[in-house]
């Protein structure tokens, strides 16, 4: 089971990382007025971090399946 295994611990680490990146003060660093490749910096960065977090979680969960 993944519950106690390495994958479980990795998922908790991913959660902590996500919680850090999605909150103050890291969030305030992304909140800038200048555009990011023509898109709002905050909006773009949130989606990028979000996608990255999902990718990491997917990697951990599916890898643990093996």
């Amino acid at each position: 089971m993944m519950r106690r295994g390495l994958a479980g611990q990795r998922l908790v680490a991913a959660f902590l990382g996500g919680a850090l990146l999605f909150n103050y003060p890291v969030l305030s660093l992304l909140d800038r007025s200048e555009p990011f490749f023509g898109m709002p910096m905050l909006w773009a960065c949130l989606f990028i971090v979000w996608a990255a977090l999902i990718a990491v979680v997917a990697w951990i969960a599916e890898r643990g399946a093996r």
Binding site: M2, R3, N23, L27, D31, W43, F47, W50, V57
Partner: protein, 919 residues
């Protein structure tokens, strides 16, 4: 604009399609070929989280608050990454104890309490009502935008009275479909495969529809993301939406509160509990849902901000309700089909939510509110109502209708004043109240019934006072004065600035106070007393669910029961036929042929109670079971004793298991060793017996002749000489035998000395032939010699190899026929080895004898031809050859002579015995 008929017809067609999917799913489930038993369907069914709120409301939220629609989806992403800690345990607990709702979960955990179950149900109903109202509002306003019946789109049909309000009929239609989906028949595990299939299907529909609209707005109306954002940046009204600080006054604290709220909601919303926990087919499916569901959330949110900005840029602020941009943007561009698709997507999101939510809530209402009340009346406890399955179904259907009507009522009362998202958040905050009792119950053994009750009640009251009542008051149905002046005019009781706490948005404010009150009451009241036996039992079963087996609950029951009482009890609630099947399969699992053979033990009582719990909730099941069995309640001390005992027993049994395994291994080793010893013993016995025989035979002759010579001095000289000759030859035989036995023993025990030197086999073979030539001459036989011109030297013991050669050649001499005997000795060089063949034209060896002639004391030939020999020559020769890493074998056919051959390697790997020549 579209005609109402088209929209209504399309909506019904879609609902029927959903129902067809559900029907197909149910059919496949009955055939045992489930279509929901895969991780993809499971993950898609979790997306029931995305309702009309997401579909319409997020755009509205983004139009007023920019990125502030996002925390509602970031929270679930974070929560899912913790699902291995939380959800997996919830799934395991619920499956093990047949828990079918959150109310049941909490009631069961805190000692199967009716009171708690009822309170949780009330919170769930009250909390979900605004949420269901939100869906109704979305559908009706969507309809009016689509048909153009009301330009403002906020309040459809401008209904003057309830009976010609279309929203009422929407609610009733949804109630009908929900009954069809979820309450057609009774399922002991509360599983609805068809419904899950339909939900997974609608999740796909709403995602695709939303992506199509998003694509249309982004690339059809505008020229991509860059274009929309560039225009927004340039617009001084819209530019603030692109930053977190400027878009809302809530600040980072509010952002955190929303994220936390969404995290809790994705776990504790009744419909999420239903699809995630109750409808879970396989725990392993969670593995994929952990990332697929967040991925779904990400996809459905990509176009939210572009649509919101696009709508604002197109319509300007204040003309069109941003909640309906998804519909009004395609309509404004004449894309009526696209608008209808968007509406179907929204309808899909709303119906999915309503169906699952009301089914979940109706299960709670039936099991944790109505049944306990009914069962508390004496009439129902007695069994004059033999079959209550119809009643159960009726209660559930009624609950579904009532919940939807309550939603409609709230929609009429408060729907006007609020945007979709604000309504939804009120429900989220209500659901968050379950978190302390649920999470505490799963990880902390100390929580008590009173603690959970106090926490839930406090949280609920604070929630109602700080969120629910203000929402009603703001709609004008309550006197607003308490909002501004506080209850009884007490300023510190202002609902939205409780105790003067200002600077938070209303949601964060309510969440802070309600959760604080909830957690504080839960913990402090729980700590006021030690848990009772029943609470401690349930606490252990929940907290240690992974380390305890299925049968653990039985440990905690003491009493006596009758199968004849239990089976009819289960039958009352589940139907006689199904109860019989359940008991039969339970009996089969225990290897019994019939139900009557079942022992009415703790396990059976537990089984019956678990089956009932699935249908009527754990608390009611407890009451019903205890009404038909005699049982003694366990005190805390007894439970603790059982727990200690159980853990000790577990430790002992583990130790015992390890020891017995070690013992088994040791036994096996001993047995093998014993077998080897026995075999050796048998060999030794055989050997000793053979040696004895071989020694006694010559001794017999020697003694007989000696005694005869001694007793009878008158034996004539000829006989006397003959007898003495025999005595001498038998003595020689005896000597030879003793020598060979000793030799054999030395070689076998490894004590033989090996004097290795470089030996020339040509010279050695020649020497052996010379030595034995006389034997052949005596028998009139010929010995031929075939040597190569030269042969490499090899390293071995000269005398031992000579011994082998002499043995083989003298054997040949013994077996060649008289006067016509021919023997041939041949030395040849092969790759890396030297080969010697000694062949004769004797009688040969019968096939059956080929194997045994190398065994000790087995001589070849029949009695007449059997020459003098000890039967040890060949075994010794073979030992010597093998000592030098070579091989000795024989080829023969009866009547055609025999060829004994051996090879010796030029560089022996084996046989590095003490090399005396080197020292």
């Amino acid at each position: 604009m579209l005609s109402g008929t088209v929209v209504v017809a399309a909506s019904f067609a879609y609902l029927l399609l959903l129902f067809a999917v559900a029907w197909y799913g149910d059919r496949r489930a009955e055939q045992g070929r489930s279509i929901i038993a895969n991780p993809w369907t499971y993950a898609m069914s979790l997306a029931v989280y995305c309702t009309a709120w997401t579909y319409f409301g997020s755009v509205g939220r983004a139009a007023s608050g920019g990125v502030w629609f996002l925390p509602i989806y970031l929270g679930p992403t974070l929560a899912m990454s913790l699902s291995w800690l939380v959800l997996l345990k919830m799934i395991r607990i619920s499956r093990t104890y047949r828990i079918t709702s959150i109310a049941d979960f909490i009631a069961s955990r805190y000692g199967k309490s009716h009171l708690l179950g009822g309170l949780v149900t009330i919170i769930a109903v009250v909390g979900m009502v605004p949420y269901i109202a939100l869906q109704l509002k979305a559908i009706s306003s969507g309809y009016s935008v689509l048909t153009g019946s009301d330009d403002s789109g906020v309040f459809p049909f401008a209904a003057s009275s309830w009976f010609n309000d279309g929203t009422l009929y929407v609610a009733l239609t949804l109630a009908l479909f929900t009954v069809l989906f979820g309450a057609r028949h009774l399922d002991a595990a509360e599983r609805h495969e068809g419904m899950v299939a339909a939900i997974a299907f609608e999740s796909v529909v709403k995602l695709l529809a939303f992506l199509v609209i998003g694509g249309f707005v982004t690339w059809g109306v505008y020229e991509g993301f860059g274009d929309i954002f560039a225009r927004a940046f340039a617009n001084p009204e819209l530019a603030p939406l692109l930053s977190l600080k400027t878009a809302s006054s809530a600040g980072y604290g509010g952002w955190f509160a929303l994220t936390l709220l969404a995290m809790l909601s994705v776990i504790f919303l009744p419909r999420q509990f239903q699809v995630t926990v109750v409808e879970n087919v396989n725990e392993q499916h969670l593995r994929r849902a952990v990332w697929l569901f967040p991925g779904y959330l990400l996809l459905i949110n990509i176009f939210v901000l572009p649509i919101a900005l696009g709508g604002l840029l197109y319509f300007g602020r204040g003309t069109v309700d941003p909640d309906t941009f998804v519909l009004s943007l395609p309509l404004a561009h004449g894309e009526r089909a696209l608008a209808l698709l968007a509406f179907i997507g929204g309808l899909s999101a709303a119906t999915g939510m309503v169906i699952v939510e009301t089914i979940a809530v109706s299960t709670m209402v039936c099991n944790d509110l109505v049944m306990p009340l009914l069962l508390s009346t004496e009439r129902f406890k007695r069994s004059d109502h033999p079959d209550l399955t119809g009643l159960l179904l009726g209660i559930r259907r009624g609950a579904i209708v009532v919940v939807l009507l309550l939603g409609y009522l709230y929609f009429r009362l408060a729907g006007e004043a609020y945007a979709l998202v604000s309504i939804g958040l009120i429900s989220f905050a209500a659901v968050a109240q379950f978190a302390p009792a649920m999470l505490g119950g799963m990880y902390w053994r100390g929580g008590t019934r009173e603690g959970a009750f106090a926490g839930l009640l406090a949280g609920f009251v604070v929630w109602a006072y700080t969120l629910m009542l203000p929402s009603v008051a703001k709609s004008g149905w309550l006197d607003r004065s308490f909002l501004d002046n506080g209850l009884f005019g007490l300023e510190y009781l202002q609902p939205e600035q409780l105790f003067g706490l200002a600077g938070l948005d209303s949601i964060s404010h309510a969440l802070f106070w309600s959760l604080t009150a909830n957690i504080a009451c839960y913990v402090l009241v729980s700590l006021a007393r030690v848990p009772t036996g029943q609470e401690a039992t349930q606490a252990t079963l929940f907290v240690d669910v992974f380390s305890r087996g299925q049968d653990a609950p039985a440990t905690f029951w003491r009493g006596s029961a009758q199968v004849q009482d239990l089976q009819p009890l289960v039958a009352r609630f589940l139907g006689a036929e199904r109860a019989r099947r359940m008991f039969e399969s339970y009996a089969r699992e225990r290897g019994l042929a019939r139900i009557d053979e079942l022992k009415p033990d703790a396990g059976l009582v537990q089984f019956a109670e678990t089956q009932l719990a699935g249908a009527i909730g754990s608390a009611s099941a407890r009451v019903m079971v205890s009404s038909v069995v005699q049982e003694e309640p366990l005190g805390l001390d007894e439970v603790m004793d059982i727990l200690d005992e159980a853990s000790q027993v577990r430790a002992y049994s583990r130790e015992l298991e390890e020891k017995s395994q070690a013992l088994e291994e040791a036994t096996a080793e001993l047995r093998a060793a014993n077998e080897r010893l026995k075999e050796l013993d048998r060999l030794k016995d055989d050997f000793m017996s053979s040696v004895t025989h071989e020694l006694r035979t010559p001794l017999t002759s020697i003694r007989a002749f000696s005694e005869m010579l001694l007793d009878d001095p008158e034996i004539d000289l000829k006989d006397r000489m003959r007898f003495l000759g025999i005595i001498v030859s038998e003595t020689e035989r005896l000597t030879r035998l003793v020598n060979q036995v000793l030799d054999m023993a030395k070689i076998e025990s490894g004590h033989a000395e090996w004097h290795n030197t470089d030996i020339d086999m040509r010279e050695l073979v020649g020497h052996a032939v010379e030595t034995t030539e006389q034997l052949f001459r005596d028998r009139g036989a010929v010995l031929e010699l075939d040597l190569p011109d030269q042969a490499p030297h090899l390293r071995a013991d000269h005398d031992r190899v000579l011994q082998v050669l002499l043995n083989l050649i003298s054997n040949a001499a013994k077996f060649v026929p008289d006067d016509a005997g021919v023997a041939r000795v041949r030395l040849s060089c092969e790759a890396g080895q030297l080969r010697v063949d000694v062949s004769d034209n004797g009688p040969g060896i019968a096939p059956g004898q080929l194997g045994v002639i190398f065994e000790k004391f087995r001589q070849g030939g029949d009695e007449h031809s059997r020459p003098q020999g000890t039967g040890l020559g060949l075994p010794i020769s073979r030992q010597i050859v093998e000592h030098f890493g070579g091989r000795l074998w024989v080829q023969s056919r009866a009547g055609e002579g025999a060829t004994f051959s051996f090879v010796l390697p030029l560089s022996p790997e084996a046989g590095d015995g003490p090399d005396h020549a080197m020292t």
